[in-house]
């Protein structure tokens, strides 16, 4: 699904440039405290990154204005909601482990977000757990994370 760069909200683009600039600046400043060999490359790349992101920031701010803010706000809300679901997945897996937390997340997402019936959502979660167990634990001998609650 390619994005349409021509539709980029100017303000958000500028924010992203600023975030990159802040990241490069912070890491470059921290790098100054390292010995010469360890700081050479980070300072070189960090300085370059700062200059480039500053140029991008100026280029964006001096560019055109956003054409359809309301539609984009709605899309941004949907993305934020989905990111909330991602955080929920991470929290469930961290607490309950991959097999239990992962299955629970699949069931909740299918049921609450996609409005699927329980009779479809629950087997889907169980199939995911079974597949992960068989492929990774049984097949490849990998030990899956069991969750902070059980540790």
């Amino acid at each position: 699904m390619p994005s349409d760069p021509s539709a980029s909200p100017v303000r958000a683009d500028a924010w992203l440039s600023a975030i990159f600039f802040a990241g490069f600046a912070a890491m470059t400043i921290v790098a100054t405290t390292y010995p010469a060999i360890a700081r050479a490359m980070p300072m070189l790349v960090g300085t370059l990154g700062m200059v480039l992101s500053a140029i991008q920031f100026v280029r964006t701010v001096s560019g055109r204005r956003d054409a359809a803010p309301r539609e984009k706000t709605a899309r941004a809300s949907a993305h934020l909601l989905m990111f909330g679901w991602l955080i929920a997945a991470v929290a469930l897996v961290a607490l309950l482990g991959i097999l239990v937390g992962g299955a629970l997340f699949v069931v909740l997402f299918l049921r609450a977000r996609l409005r699927e019936a329980w009779s479809s959502a629950i087997p889907s979660g169980l199939v995911l757990s079974a597949a992960l167990h068989l492929m990774l634990e049984r097949g490849l001998g990998v030990r899956l994370f069991e969750g902070l609650i059980w540790q």
């Binding site: 699904m1 980029s8 958000a12 991008q56 679901w85 996609l114 902070l148």
Partner: protein, 497 residues
């Protein structure tokens, strides 16, 4: 120098139940990710990383190459059946494939597509095999100085995957490079950017970073859109083996076009930055130019399916050469493949080519074989596999998210690495939404540590004089040529976001 025999590697591949089993898993997976519109090869590699993590390096590498080899074989299905290309490089197939399906020739179009895909993949793989003896002497001449400059050359290819915005690509590439410096410094072991956190001492794990930047944004987008899959239509009828046989015959009838398109595709794949879109459209144009009835193109000419499909699959053979032998990814897909190889403990480049020649040959044969398996598999189950194109992508979202999280936790015993994944996932989502190119991030992250390490080694051995070595001078000229080309090219090359 390792004297691996290509024949021995081929026999070893065929007689290894493990490797054949891995390919039989990888091929349907590659077809699946290619066939669902909006998903694609890069995404496939990103979510394969957790799966291959526990495998033997050879098996894991075979999985990745086989999966990536057949993405476009599956990508033709939605193009022909729905008029929606599976990915950018599959767009050329829609022009004639969809009109064929609309007039009741879906089976013929898919038969032609599968056969030309297989032929293209095989020819691309064989051309790669033929080029190995040519490349070998160059690889033998490589030391730390050349490795450093080669890594620098690879970094200049960030421009090739810039998607038309060089400044943004350079910023994202620099961010990848910067994050590659996190962890213990290779020369004197100083902990950099760890902020007292033990889990950062080993650096930013590619298994967390690559899926976070490439797979999570796709899932966020897909989950946010709430789009349902398309309903199966009449075009799915006529997808049996016998209907496809006519398409097989078309490829035999246009065998020279298939051969020319395959060779052209492989050569385009060799050139960093040209990418799949260029290969398929150039070959589509070539088919139209050399046709006696060019007016049929755009209205369901079978040659318009054959040429781009052959090119799409053959270009992967060409693109593998710089990736495997020099560790220089020439496309966004290859950048991710490079990152995935590193998670397996394989560092593509001269060292891998010299020390693991058997692996190189195994991967070349895996590429060839995967194309054949993929096409046969689709031909045998075409009627049912055609329905893949109608899958609602957002139903995959929770499964993929759990898989990405599982991969992150497989790579690191520290739960805190999930925070890194979330931060990079948010960054990747923002980049995707705002049209910033993401592949440069993978190039920077993978090549950063190699660049730094080989620079220090070269400096310790030769001092500044390492730049005067003959190999180094050639590479410096190539770097200058690469920068000049991308800085002054008149038009943007196709996007690889």
């Amino acid at each position: 120098m390792s004297h691996a025999s290509p024949v021995a590697s081929l026999i070893a591949l065929f007689t290894s139940p493990d490797l054949i089993g891995v390919m039989l898993l990888a091929v349907p997976f590659g077809v699946l990710v290619g066939a669902i519109p909006g998903i694609g090869g890069k995404f496939g590699i990103a979510i394969s990383i957790p799966f291959v993590f526990g495998m033997e390096p050879v098996a894991g590498a075979v999985f990745l190459v086989a999966m990536h080899a057949v993405v476009h074989t599956g990508g033709s299905l939605p193009g022909i059946l729905l008029g929606i290309p599976g990915g950018g490089p599959d767009a050329a197939i829609v022009v004639d494939g969809y009109p064929m399906a609309q007039r009741g020739e879906a089976g013929r179009a898919i038969g032609a597509s599968l056969t030309s895909s297989a032929a293209g993949g095989v020819i691309g793989g064989l051309l790669l095999a033929l080029l190995v003896p040519v490349v070998w002497p160059i690889v033998l001449a490589f030391g730390p100085a050349e490795t450093f400059l080669l890594a620098l050359l690879g970094i200049t290819f960030i421009a090739a995957v810039s998607g038309g915005d060089l400044l943004k690509a350079l910023i994202v590439g620099s961010a990848g490079l910067m994050l590659s410096f996190v962890g213990a410094e290779p020369q004197d072991g100083v902990a950099r950017f760890t902020f007292g956190q033990l889990f950062l001492w080993d650096g930013i794990d590619l298994m967390a970073a690559v899926p976070a930047v490439f797979a999570i944004p796709e899932m966020i987008e897909m989950g946010a859109s709430m789009a349902k899959g398309a309903a199966p239509t009449a075009t799915t009828s006529g997808l049996g083996f016998w209907q496809m046989r006519e398409g097989f015959g078309d490829v035999v009838r246009h065998r020279w076009l298939t051969f020319r398109a395959s060779c052209l595709g492989a050569l385009i794949g060799l050139v960093p930055g040209l990418g799949g879109e260029v290969a398929s459209w150039v070959c589509y144009g070539h088919a139209a130019q050399t046709s006696r009835q060019p007016e049929r193109f755009g209205h369901g000419a079978v040659e318009g399916v054959i040429a781009p499909d052959a090119a799409n699959n053959s270009k992967e053979g060409g693109a593998l050469l710089p990736t495997l032998f020099f560790g220089v990814p020439g496309s966004s897909g290859m950048a991710l493949l490079l990152a995935a190889f590193v998670t397996l403990g394989l560092q593509p480049g001269p060292q891998l080519a010299l020390g693991n020649a058997d692996l190189i040959w195994t991967l070349i044969w895996a590429l060839v074989l995967a194309n054949v398996i993929g096409s046969f598999m689709l031909a045998a189950c075409g009627r049912w596999l055609g329905l893949i194109a109608f899958t609602a992508g957002n139903r995959l979202v929770p499964f993929v998210l759990v898989f990405v999280i599982a991969g992150c936790l497989l790579a690191s015993v520290h739960v805190q690495s999930l925070i890194v994944m979330l931060v990079l996932g948010a960054l990747g989502t923002a980049m995707k939404r705002l049209g910033w190119p993401r592949p440069p991030f993978a190039i920077g992250l993978v090549l950063g540590s190699i660049t730094e390490r080989s620079f220090h080694q070269a400096w310790a051995i030769w001092g500044g004089a390492f730049l005067l070595k003959p190999g180094a001078i050639i590479l410096l000229v190539l770097i200058a040529a690469s920068i000049t080309f991308y800085a002054f090219r008149p038009v943007s090359l196709p996007s690889s976001r």
